[in-house]
Symmetry: C2
């Protein structure tokens, strides 16, 4: 009878539903950062693709020589330069994080990455679209578009679009990580 009372008076404490491993992320956060987000090889690849295509866009547009006559083309060079610097800087940060084997899953860093991606992405997209509109207009005026000038404009614009398309997954992954990390901090 004494044994029977002890089992009812001192019930076994409910064990935690899952064992917290050292370094395990809080609930609601991915176990591993998805490839393409900050601090992964996929992320480095995306950043280098953005930087290289932005640099190619600047080089092709600058080689035409007539870009200062059109404000949209000057704007494209400015926006692509900002994009190239931003992506190169983040590529170095990612590579450094990979080399020292540190996670970049830091709320403040991810937030800064997301906001920067949003700003540079909007600038690159708007510059590419503005240049596209201008190129289509001056393409009708064959006197301006001598030789393969318009084809070179188009190449520069296509490079800027590629840069934007490579930026979109970077932004989305980082933004999702920011939101999930922030939500897991708010969760009880």
């Amino acid at each position: 009878m004494l044994v029977s009372r002890q089992t009812t008076v001192h019930p076994v404490a409910a064990p935690p539903l899952q064992v917290e491993l050292a370094g395990a992320p809080p609930p609601g956060v991915w176990m591993n950062s998805p490839q393409g987000s900050a601090g992964t090889l996929g992320g480095v690849g995306l950043r280098l693709l953005q930087a290289l295509s932005a640099a190619a866009s600047i080089a092709v547009m600058a080689s035409t020589g007539v870009f200062p006559s059109f404000s949209a083309f000057s704007y494209l060079i400015a926006a692509a330069s900002l994009q190239c610097l931003w992506s190169l800087a983040l590529a170095f940060v990612y590579i450094y994080a990979l080399l020292v084997k540190r996670s970049l899953l830091n709320l403040r860093a991810m937030f800064i990455f997301s906001v920067g991606d949003w700003i540079t992405g909007t600038l690159t997209l708007s510059a590419a679209c503005a240049s596209m509109g201008v190129t289509i207009v001056i393409d009708n005026d064959k006197k301006i578009c001598a030789g393969n000038l318009c084809a070179r404009f188009m190449t520069a614009i296509a490079m800027a679009f590629i840069s934007w398309f490579a930026l979109a997954p970077s932004f989305l992954f980082n933004f999702v990580l920011v939101v999930t990390t922030f939500a897991s901090l708010l969760a009880p």
Copy 2:
């Protein structure tokens, strides 16, 4: 002895760690949808602002009469039409949800809203930027821009930009709600 055996053989099931209130959101999700997201008065206001400014953009651009000569301006009318229809449709959905007092915090619905916002927003921004580039080019050629024609182009473009600026918070709120809801489903 029989009683003692029964308590050890049939232990009491561990109670859930927190009581689920009827209608309470899962952990990690805001208690109330923030103003501006789906199914709130702020959301309806944002949607109506998007639809009205897109409609104004179409009206001003169509009133110029010369828009078919420029592909960027035709594209602006197409993108603004899509934006206007999308925002009006969602405004009606939000108003209906408010009238029947139902929450729109449904993962599938919010996901569709976010993806639609991304697509229409990108189209509207690109059309506005392309038209802006074209307007700046033809503004230099005063023969084309007789009277207040370029001012009317600029007005239509400004309306499209306002539509995009009103779309950005709608997209961000809905996307944050999608991610937090999805993360709370994944959490143990």
